[in-house]
């Protein structure tokens, strides 16, 4: 009886106390490095200072050419917009978006690099913005 009791206690304790401590590597941002090699932008949004979209229509994302084409409303204040990228699982963006971004220099479109979950694949995406024509 004593043997069963001790076995029961030990198993119970082991079940509660056992913690899986498998080491997964993390990158310099503290993000998990996984085995995913996919590397693309799924969606793109551009918000104005009022956090409302400034797009006139859905963005065109070409994952082969690695370009994003967006048309914004006439009069959009492109010096103060918030870009939002939806990336494939585990991927991250460089440079990071920490607030408003100045997209007003249309001749020099901004480039954001998508880095895959395994941190081995890097794809630069160029964001081309066009403004509704002047009336």
């Amino acid at each position: 009886m004593k043997k069963y009791f001790i076995t029961f206690i030990v198993i119970t304790l082991a079940a509660f106390a056992w913690v899986s401590c498998t080491d997964f590597p993390v990158d310099e941002d503290g993000l998990l490095i996984t085995e995913r090699g996919q590397c693309y932008v799924g969606n793109f949004e551009l918000l104005g200072s009022d956090f409302q979209t400034v797009r006139t229509k859905a963005p065109v994302i070409d994952t082969t050419a690695q370009t994003i084409n967006v048309e914004v409303f006439y009069g959009t204040d492109l010096k103060n917009v918030y870009p939002q990228f939806s990336l494939v699982t585990d991927a991250k963006l460089d440079p990071k978006i920490t607030g408003k971004v100045d997209f007003s220099d249309l001749a020099n479109p901004k480039v954001y690099t998508v880095i895959s979950g395994n941190r081995l694949v890097k794809k630069p995406y160029t964001v081309y913005i066009t403004v509704q024509p002047k009336p």
């Binding site: 009886m1 009069g75 002047k134």
Partner: protein
């Protein structure tokens, strides 16, 4: 040995699951003697000059000990002309409607004091007090002393506050129209037509216009007079009008005072103080109803929030309400 382990297990379960469930017999609470009072503040949000502060003041004593003869409120700063205390006690019926019961004569306000004399044999009442925030209270604190007197000579008092009165101003329901009153002055909290704007050129901060195009979305717009002509097509500014206000577009900031909708959002002095207008544009186009704009005047003297209550595309006009804060 076996018994010992069973006992140990049983004891463990007993400790975990045992709950004491002692029955206590209910007994009627004993009525506490004497005159008592209590008070709550019913209004929410910042205290703005011209609006009211509403309180509900409750007072009661056991019927056998006497009746209430008067209720009084003393404010640290005399309220506006319409300050009053209800002479009716309200109860809410099953339909949720407040039903009044008259307990005395209408209140009399003298300087800082407002008093209701009871004329009905009343031993319990809750009276509402409406303090109209006066101009003298702007930026100061105000507090209240509620008191009640009973026929047996007892008196009770209840202190409320201090409450800080906001420095900001407010103006509701100004109508701006594309072809008439299209010039907005934050300094004056007013809208003007072109002729009047010419006489107050230094005070004109924004121009309202409405345009529709097939190739671009423009609609309702608030533009600083000094903005790029592209954003004020067809506008010939009156002589001298040329200020350059900074404007941030805002969405879903439906201030309760300005919008008077169901949203419990309030803009207070601190919101104006903490705004950052660096890099702000001088125009806001494609504005919608229930949107708004933060504005800073060209001289930095005023900051304002302009809320758009209503837009009318046919009449080419907007109804706006403004909260304004003087920065210097």
């Amino acid at each position: 040995m076996q018994l010992k382990y069973y006992s140990l297990l049983l004891l463990t379960f007993a400790v975990i699951f045992f709950t004491a469930c002692q029955d206590e017999e209910y007994s009627l609470p004993t009525l506490e003697g004497g005159l008592h009072n209590d008070c709550i503040k019913r209004t929410l949000g910042p205290n703005v000059v011209g609006l009211n502060l509403e309180f509900a003041y409750a007072m009661a004593l056991p019927k056998a000990e006497g009746k209430i003869v008067s209720a009084q409120v003393e404010a640290s700063i005399a309220g506006g002309a319409a300050t009053y205390m209800e002479y009716r006690s309200f109860s809410t019926n099953s339909s949720g409607v407040d039903v009044p019961v008259t307990i005395g004569s209408p209140s009399v306000t003298s300087a800082t004091k407002t008093e209701v004399i009871f004329t009905k044999d009343t031993c319990a009442a809750t009276l509402r007090y409406f303090y109209i925030i006066p101009e003298e209270a702007r930026g100061k604190t105000v507090k209240f002393t509620f008191s009640a007197k009973a026929s047996n000579g007892q008196t009770v008092t209840y202190e409320m506050g201090p409450y800080t009165v906001a420095k900001m101003d407010m103006k509701l329901d100004l109508v701006v129209s594309d072809n008439n009153n299209s010039y907005i002055s934050i300094a004056d909290m007013a809208v003007y037509n072109a002729a009047t704007a010419a006489t107050k050129a230094a005070n004109i901060d924004l121009v309202y216009l409405y345009r529709t195009y097939t190739t671009a979305t423009f609609n309702h717009a608030l533009v600083a007079p000094a903005a790029n002509p592209d954003y004020k097509p067809g506008i010939t500014l009156p002589a001298g009008v040329g200020n350059s206000a900074k404007i941030w577009k805002v969405w879903a900031l439906r201030d309760q005072h300005l919008a008077r909708l169901q949203y419990g959002i309030y803009i207070d002095d601190i919101d104006f103080q903490e705004l950052d207008f660096s890099g702000a544009p001088d125009y806001a186009i494609n504005l919608r109803a229930e949107a708004g704009t933060w504005v800073e005047t060209a001289d930095g003297k005023y900051r304002a929030y302009i809320y758009i209550n209503k837009i009318d595309n046919t009449k080419k006009e907007m109804t706006i309400s403004i909260k304004r804060y003087q920065m210097k």
